[in-house]
Amino acid sequence: MAERARQKAGEVDARVAAGEAGSLAGTILAVKDLIVMKGGRVTCGSRILADFVSPYDATVVERLEAQDAVIIAKTNMDEFAMGSSNENSHFGAVRNPHDRQRVPGGSSGGSCAAVAAGMVTAALGSDTGGSIRQPAAFCGVVGLKPTYGRVSRYGLVAFASSFDQIGPIAQTVQDAGDLFRAMAGHDPKDSTSAQLAVPVLDEHSGEKIKGLRIGLPKEYFADGLAADIRTAIDQLVARLAADGAEIVDVSLPHTEYAIAAYYIITTAEASSNLARYDGARYGYRAEQSDSLEEMYVRSRSEGFGEEVKRRIMLGTYVLSAGYYDAYYRKAQQVRTLVRRDFEQAFTVCDCLLTPTTPTTAFKLGEKTADPLNMYLSDVYTVSVNLAGLPAMSVPCGVDSANLPLGVQIIGNAFDETTVLKLGRHIEQSRVER
């Protein structure tokens, strides 16, 4: 890893000197440890992959290095990206740089903490139900989840394949946009990557937000939202209105069903995806097993952590005979209803503005005994993944305890440009004040 980074840095120096530097020259990156790099370990925060060395590069790694980014580190994460606090890693918890007694959020907690602490220019995360945006909000950095299909998943270890998406975490919206454009676009190695051109119009063009129709979904401002976050967003909305944006009240009536549908579908997909870890071809193997069956069972039971096993069990249960229609099919139907809510909203507005999280960063250990309560901390982020839409968390000040809070911008499918444009405006208006 270090050797590869030094070599790449040397190449970048030479290209800068020759006047041929790529668009990301000077960018120092960290990569969440579920994105593979040839010759490097990729653990997914799990004992079962603790010694796994990738024989190939993820497409995003190839594309970022092609633009002269230098990748210097892999970052800790919740095991297989399952968690909202980064306490589920086999290698230990990550702490929040703003308050070390608090969690950084998850599952891309290591990436967000590294960016917040200034250890790297930016980092890559992955977002299945908020795993880029929620920790970005908790750590006071920018986190963008692109539209599903926008960025290749080749070389991203799978959690829930119809949800997972790689995205940038950065100190500024501009950096996030630059990384996004370098990574995005069709990849023949990922058959679910979209055959659409990546927008070249960028968010720094100085274009004003006058006339931009910003929807406020009332379900995201209901009970359970911390008062300080509500106040900060109310003030932001007032500024945006003063800057010429048109504020529209909208409703996403199926929001309260999103978490339930999300946990059924993602655990079902995970139970299938994680069946590959059986100790036969790679990963942890329990030795001295008397039979193949025993080797499978012991390798998995000793290799996976508690939360991963819980989700495999839930996913297996909802897919099992007699329960498939009641749970899995039902959840897929509700997924349709959640999508329709957004389609309806986007007939009257160009993007949506919501809090990213209902609270600021909570304390380590505060929610570990209660998995359902932990799941509910993703209440404002999971709907976006059910619908496959792009969304970004942008810092929006601090609460009374001086902890960062984030505002979420949700765009229509493949309209990252509007998301980035509004994010840039929010960031600039905060700097100017």
Binding site: G149, D290, Y317, S320, R329, Q333, L372
Partner: protein
Amino acid sequence: MAITIAQVEQVARLAKLQFDSEEKKRMAEQLNLIVDYVEKLNELDTSEVAPTAHILNLTNVLREDSVEPSLSPEEVLQNAPRQNNSHFSVPRVIKEL
């Protein structure tokens, strides 16, 4: 509809996982809490709603079947816990009589 210890054992068999008796009890309790919560979906009438399996509506993404470089056998086997003659090696499958 509460999940019993027997059901936890049955699902664990399907998932190729094993738990001790304390873990089974805790798993049953936690799964029951989560399943009780997701029962919320039954408040919605979805009889006329088509399921969404995938948001991109892609079907059958095809390409030319051309020969391209792939990983070498050494690379494929580099993470094998055990190997033998360029094969993955696992415990004996066929029992001796």
